[in-house]
Amino acid sequence: MHLAFGPAAEKTVTDPGASTSEAQAIEVASIEDLHVTFRRSGKDIAALRGVSLDIRRGEILGLVGESGSGKSVLGLALLGLLDARADVRGAVRVAGRDMAHCDQSARREVRRVHLGAVFQDPMTSLNPTMRVGRQVAEVAGSKDEAERLLGAVGIPDPASRMDAFPHELSGGLRQRVMIAMAVAGNPDLIVADEPTTALDVTVQAQVLTLLRSLRDEIGCSVLLITHDLGCAAQVADRVAVMYAGRLAELGSSAEVLARASHPYTLALLRSRLSLASDRTTSLLALPGEVPNPAAPEPGCAFAPRCDLAGPACLDAPPPPLEVRPGHLSACVVPAVEVTSRLAEVVRAAVVPHPEREPHNDDVVTLYRVQKSFRVGAGRTTRRLQALRGVNLTVGRGESVALVGESGSGKSTLLRIVAGLESFDGGKLEVAGPDCPQMVFQDAGASLTPWLTVGEIIGERLRGISRAERAAKVAQALAHVGLPAEVAKAKSAQLSGGQRQRVSLARATVVAPSILLCDEPTSALDVSLAASVINLIGGLRRELGMSVLFVTHDLSVARVVADRIAVMYLGRIVEVGDADQITSQPVHPYTQALMSAVPDMGREPVALRGEPASPLAPPAGCAFHSRCPKAIDDCGDALLDVRLTAVDRSAHHLAACIRATA
């Protein structure tokens, strides 16, 4: 246990159960008018442009923003870890010290005694050459304390894990080790920068629950930095929304969700996908992109994308004003007007999807497709069973989503359909004269860096004159909402959203029979993801393509797909119409995925454990080791779980002996 004298001793008295409003008013950290400017290749990049924020004792404050909003810079400023060359104005007070300006030894002292940190990628923030027990003991003080902490953060069998190296642990366990190190020494404040972004959905829910229970137990505050408003609203007490280096809105989670007052927060809420999103209309995407931090607007940074922007918005950045007690919003338009005026705009923007004419022929047919990879060399060679017999059809013009966690084989399946990977057994038929086209997760990496966009798109147009080709390229670019000048640019000159549009233009310049999408939106900001999903849907209907869409997020799958196939460890465990799957999931795994989707105002329900290794899938039903409904028979090696019709329609199939028996 950490013991301190003087002001720090107060925190040992703090009891979250008995905390009064008076005790909560004490701030563990306060940021006053913080400006941070970096200099990169001759340009001033204004990362923070005047942020004032208090973090109260014992609260979880969700800091939400898209990439470039400055949320991570704020986290680093709290930890006193900003680049020494950054130009910092304002104050960052933690435990009575200004972390932006005091000397390094004082910052170290504050970090050691008062702060803890959890970063996005635990693989890079843990020392790969050191056993985790020693790493935790370094901060905790003793081996026994380290073991106790590992147990406290929910690592099963902590005694044996003490001797493990970071690479021997799964992503979720590694993040728990990071959290154990962060809570060692009972800090006042834990800065958690995107702690769950690199994790699977089910594991993400576990980690969020853990953060929350740690706060309840030791009474520390948590600054939860995330790009997902839903994720923040679910666990945080208060939410701060940032845009372009300034605070847009700040208030209690319930207040911000129910009565959001800033047009940006409202736009985020509208473009955010949930299991309740309307499938029959296009999504309400936020137009435009995040502003360039090297050339900040003189007025409100959100004005160029805002439906309510008027001349008053262009003069000076609006200061956060109190709209209700404890609820701030930085908008010149009165809060009452914002909601009503936006509602009108929104009603006009909704476009219902046209009815799809059913086709009977299939574009892709997979029959008992199997695939395994060899892992390791020599005696240690093992077989990773990526696909263990998959049956699936995609009809003409139909959109099918493959949903599953990492290691489920969904991406392998997509690559096999694309012809980029061979398969070991079974049958695959792909209709159509031309080969399928694919949109990759990392659009930037899928564009050849030294070729221009025109050359890249034009690669699919052979045997026509140069002028015809240029015309078709311009047409394809116009289709995805890009100006013709983009043809002359190289991929490094484009933004993330533009790159994904270019790769869509390449895929559709000659309409393929099927478009394969490998998590095309997971690397994009929330506000852009919706517009890319709209674009894919629009292109599909216009060009009559089929779509096979891989995602780990059921709420995305639900809006892009007519049918959803849920995969676990190389097998489809449930398949059916998108509505059926998301309204009445039958397989326990689908049910677990559903409850893991971060949703506002709902407790995350965590599935225990992590996906089993595809190197050694459990016998019987591969899911039985994590299944809350498993019975003894489920682990029987002779058990052959097959997809069986759930209802009479034979449309909805599930592979579970408990669900269909």
């Binding site: 080969c435 086209q437 564009l447 390449r506």
Partner: protein, 287 residues
């Protein structure tokens, strides 16, 4: 006054930082352009030389500055400056030739190995390893013994051991690039193997190969001079820096300039090669 001060200081600091960066870039450009300067000097050796390097032009063994010889004259009265200039011309173009040949052979083998992968990659890389294991001097002695002494034969021997470096570098770059999604995207767009190799892979390997090659020039000048010093290069009476140093070594004590001046020529070439190579690297791979 007191309020304005810190702002002014900050402004000053940023401009000076920008100046430093500009200066660095200019220095790199200047260094890289030394390649052009030396190549030009080598090309113009016949114009720049005061005398014929092969024919006596005055009294033998005159010291630097005497009898109209800027760097003195050698044992039979030839102008040392002219011999050094012609020697530099030989060494420089020989080095460039070996590197160009190495880039061509190594580039093609590296590209084929890296872009094809599998057993082709294995076979080509094992062959490359075998060539990499050959010691340059021993191979040069063998080649010269078999074909007779001549600069060309030495260059053949050096080229044989030089290309494998480039093959390895190009192959490594290509392997890295081949794993990127843009190659798969090109495959799906219908590009053939050749098109992928030439259009989607090769341009990515050029910067690394160029950086290595430009840093190699100084190295190669030294190797060639060393081989000539051992009598494995240019045969008399043609001028070559390494050979001139070796042949005139007996004059070192009384008439030092005869062996030392060509030696300084080697030094200057190697030095220029290295700083110019650094300049090229800074320009291609800034930080």
């Amino acid at each position: 006054m007191a309020i304005a001060e810190p702002v002014a200081r900050r402004a000053l600091r940023t401009t000076s930082r920008r100046k430093t960066r500009n200066l660095e870039r200019k220095a790199s450009v200047a260094a890289a352009s030394l390649f052009g300067v030396v190549t030009l000097a080598a090309l113009l050796a016949p114009v720049l030389s005061p005398d014929n390097p092969l024919m006596p032009a005055g009294a033998p063994l005159l010291g630097p500055g005497k009898g109209g010889f800027l760097l003195g004259s050698d044992s039979i009265g030839r102008d040392v400056l002219s011999r050094v200039l012609y020697g530099m011309r030989t060494s420089w173009f020989a080095a460039l030739g070996v590197i160009a040949l190495g880039l061509l052979i190594g580039g093609v083998i590296g590209l084929v190995a890296g872009a094809t992968g599998g057993w082709v990659d294995n076979v080509l890389m094992r062959i490359t390893d075998a060539f990499l294991a050959l010691p340059a001097p021993v191979l040069a002695i063998a080649v010269v013994a078999a074909l007779g002494p001549s600069l060309l034969h030495t260059l053949v021997a050096v080229s044989i051991v030089w290309w494998p470096f480039y093959a390895r570098i190009v192959r490594g770059e290509i392997r890295n690039l081949a794993a990127r999604p843009h190659v798969e995207a090109a495959k799906l767009a219908g590009a053939g193997r050749l098109r992928i190799a030439v259009r989607h892979l090769l341009p990515g390997a050029v910067p690394a190969a160029l950086v290595t090659a430009s840093l190699d020039i100084g190295n190669l000048v030294l190797t060639l001079a060393g081989l000539s010093f051992l009598g494995l290069g240019q045969s008399a009476p043609a001028a070559e820096l390494g050979a001139d140093t070796a042949r005139n070594l007996s004059f070192l004590l009384q008439d030092w300039w005869v062996p030392v001046m060509p030696g300084i020529g080697v030094l200057v070439l190697a030095f220029i090669g290295n700083i110019a190579g650094d300049g090229v690297r800074n320009l291609i791979e800034p930080d």
